[in-house]
């Protein structure tokens, strides 16, 4: 048995060329075969790669999809993010617990099924949703649960279950992303131009990154192209982890060719021979169809050597799977992860365009950005720049979820007002709109006249509608909890600050807070924002800060009149001490 395992590890490590940079793939392959990664597996892997076992353990322990304990043959990940809970995920969760006779985090006694909660899996428009051994299940109802559990127990093919279905849910296609394009059209245009004029065309379109930060794409490519290195890399960021974002999913379902087209054009522009698509672990179900598209493109000469007959232009794409960590969407953490390490953000400078993947110049671009780039090559920068608003050209994909009649993906020109958007999606009575996910901002009705654009209210795509009946502070609490879970732990303001924010917010919500707690929330929130190393910490206080600003009455209504209130209940705290030492508060006449 032990020998079997050693040879399995050795074979797997061989398969990935004994390359330490491929540790993520090695660990994923072993995890898929063995169901978990024991200390023994970790030790063998380290030995086979010739690295220290702590390097392997360090990496494995970071990702939520890797278990170091034995798990059931079937693993259920039920999403319990904010939108899911609006749609009844708690009841579905209870139904699973009842049906399986276990709690979340546990495995059935016969080692058959393990039950976990997970953050947003990119199916918020079809909530409640779950991944069962990686297969997406959508629109779940408590009544579905017994049938699903029975099918698992009887070893049926889960793909045949009626709930195992993902609708791409494109409600409104636009001209940039969800429009037809002939395979290779953009590449053929590009190779008839110099890389510099390709970049110039993107510049004419004034394209800005769709992944969140809005950096001008032409400038990024130009920096990368000019940076010196042994090789250049192009990375497509398909980690889409911001709760309520699922627009890249729709692209990867509906028009994967356009993304690969964009990656190839970018590769040509920056002088890369290798492109990597970093696909979040939650989207593993998309992998087979994406691999098919890649094979097809290789067959058509759109990838590989001398692409489209262009002498010397070689470009290949490989898909790197992630393993469940929101922070890996941050570009430097993503690169660490793609190199087979824990996904901890790097210090900058140097920026990825200077030292990125394997220390070489790398351009990291969002899925949607690359689609826009391909379209610009096909239709011209001027055409692209004619759409949108002053500083935000083109269209934007918005993934709308929550309390609305028509959740789904909308491709709309930049500059649309929140008011118009909520009318379109059937949510005119919204209490609040969370734009940009938890890391974005919460807009109150007085702000609904503002526009979705880089110059006003930017978003990576997430739009979560919070209806009139919702407890908004409960949503804020869950958003804050998300950051507590996902902080990589490197900086104190983010690691500890998010927890203190959560505790203080809970104190206020339970009616035990005072005015000084509100002041502390604001003060600490600003510290976390300004003192954290990466975008996660820099935005983690946004749910609290933007609602204190937009909805002060909600907070005011819950605080006490006293200037100060203690953080905990003395009596309860002392009772624990009495119990531990066999004493009794009342008998000893102690008053608190």
């Amino acid at each position: 048995m032990a020998e079997d395992m050693r040879s399995l590890v050795n074979q797997t490590v061989e398969r990935f060329g004994k390359d330490r940079h491929r540790l993520m793939d090695i660990a994923r392959a072993l995890h898929a075969r063995l169901g978990y990664l024991s200390e023994e597996t970790i030790g063998h892997t380290a030995q086979a790669l010739g690295i220290h076992r702590v390097e392997v353990r360090d990496m494995v322990s970071f990702y939520s999809f890797f278990s170091r304990k034995k798990q059931g043959k079937t693993v259920i990940h039920l999403c319990n993010a904010v939108v899911e809970r609006m749609k009844g995920a708690d009841a579905v969760g209870r139904a699973f617990e009842r049906e399986l006779g276990i709690h979340f985090g546990e495995t059935t006694p016969d080692d058959a099924i393990t039950l976990h909660h997970t953050a947003c899996i990119g199916l918020s428009d079809q909530a409640p949703s779950a991944l069962i051994n990686g297969i997406p299940f959508t629109n779940l109802k408590p009544e579905d649960v017994p049938g699903i559990v029975k099918a698992i127990r009887e070893g049926e093919d889960m793909l045949n279950m009626p709930q195992a279905e993902v609708d791409s849910n494109v409600r409104r296609p636009g001209e940039v992303i969800f429009a037809p394009m002939e395979r290779g059209a953009a590449i053929r245009k590009a190779i008839n131009m110099t890389p510099e004029s390709v970049i110039n065309e993107i510049n004419k379109g004034r394209l800005r990154g769709r992944g969140g930060a809005g950096f001008p794409t032409a400038m990024k490519w130009d920096f990368c192209r000019k940076a010196k290195g042994n090789a250049h890399y192009l990375v497509c960021n398909a980690d889409e982890g911001e709760p309520g974002t699922f627009k890249d999913r729709a692209i990867l379902q509906e028009c994967p060719d356009l993304v690969f087209e964009g990656m190839t054009v970018a590769g040509y522009a920056i002088g890369a021979r290798e492109g990597i698509m970093y696909l979040r672990g939650e989207y593993e179900y998309l992998l087979p169809s994406l691999e098919r598209v890649l094979a097809k493109r290789r067959h058509l000469g759109l990838l590989g050597e001398n692409i489209c007959g262009c002498e010397g232009f070689s470009f290949n794409i490989r898909i790197q799977m992630g393993a469940g960590a929101y922070v890996c969407g941050e570009e430097s953490a993503l690169l660490e992860s793609a190199e087979g390490k824990r996904g901890a953000p790097r210090d900058r400078p140097p920026f990825p365009v200077q030292k990125g993947y394997k220390g070489e110049p790398t351009s990291v671009n969002n899925v949607e950005t690359l689609c826009c780039a391909a379209r610009i090559l096909d239709r011209g920068g001027e055409w692209f720049a004619s759409m949108g608003s002053r500083d935000s050209t083109g269209t934007k994909l918005l993934s709308v979820s929550g309390d609305c009649e028509h959740p789904g993906v909308y491709e709309l020109p930049y500059g649309i007002t929140v008011k118009k958007l909520i009318d379109m999606v059937g949510a005119s009575d919204a209490q609040a709109v969370q734009v940009g996910g938890p890391s974005g901002r919460c807009l109150a009705p007085k702000d609904f006249g503002r526009s979705i654009s880089f110059e006003d209210v930017p978003t990576g795509g997430s739009v979560i509608i919070i209806g009139p009946e919702r407890d908004l502070l409960e949503c804020v609490r869950q958003f804050t909890e998300f950051f507590v879970e996902e902080s990589c732990g490197w900086c104190v303001p983010c690691r500890s600050g998010t927890t203190i924010l959560l505790k203080t917010l809970e104190k206020v919500m339970e009616g035990r807070g005072s005015r000084s707690d509100l002041a502390n929330l604001e003060k600490l929130g600003k510290t976390v924002k300004t003192m954290s190393r990466c975008g996660l910490g820099q935005t983690a206080a946004n749910p609290i800060l933007t609602t204190i600003n937009g909805f002060p009455d909600l907070y005011e209504a819950r605080i006490k009149h006293e200037e100060y209130t203690p953080a905990f209940d003395f009596k309860k705290a002392l009772e624990v001490g009495c119990e531990a030492a066999g004493r009794n508060l009342e008998l000893e006449g102690i008053h608190v």
Binding site: A567, F568, L574, A580, A581, G582, I590, V592
Partner: protein, 179 residues
């Protein structure tokens, strides 16, 4: 003019912060010129019997007695300054927070390898432990915080003098850099 009154208190800490206070060396003579010490372990005055201007406290809050005395400090002191990691965050004693109290006591008094016929102390004279070790500001309002383990004598001296004179506290970088 009467001199401002200063009290100092020690809760769940190691007394290192008080030692640091003594580390101001001969400047303690300056300090005595400026202030009068009331309740403090330094002079062994045990109870408050008049309002005090500044209270300086070391250590976190781990038991019923700490809670009682800290509340007393808040009641008598116009300004309360928490000093040192233990007072600010719970510090080293708060390492027990990662283990449930009962397990801690069992390990310390019943199951430890050197224990013969152990009992968990339960004399009514002893304070009752809280479930966790808390920082002072979670029990009473604290006006100022001075981090450090311990804050250096210079930090403490500068801070007290600034407070007495009503000046803004300006500490050089070396005094607030901890790693």
């Amino acid at each position: 003019m009467t001199k401002p009154l200063v009290a100092t208190g020690h809760f769940t800490g190691c007394f290192g912060c008080h030692m640091s206070l003594l580390d101001i060396d001969e400047r303690i003579l300056d300090l005595v010129q400026l202030v009068e010490f009331d309740k403090s372990p330094i002079n062994d005055i045990k109870t408050f019997n008049r309002p005090v201007d500044i209270g300086i406290i070391e250590g976190g809050v781990s038991n019923s007695e700490n809670v009682e005395f800290l509340r007393e400090f808040r009641k008598y002191c116009k300004i309360l300054v928490a000093i040192g990691s233990c007072a600010l965050t719970g510090g080293v004693p708060a390492m027990r927070n990662t283990v449930p109290l009962k397990e801690c006591l069992q390990e310390a008094y019943l199951d430890g390898p050197t224990i013969v016929n152990g009992v968990i102390p339960n004399d009514p004279e002893l304070p009752i432990l809280l479930d966790r070790v808390y920082p002072c500001h979670e029990v009473v309002k604290i006006d100022y915080f001075l981090p450090g383990c311990p804050p250096s004598g210079d930090t403490l001296f500068n801070a007290i003098v600034a407070l007495l004179k009503g000046d803004a506290l300006a500490l050089p970088y070396e005094l607030v850099k901890y790693d």
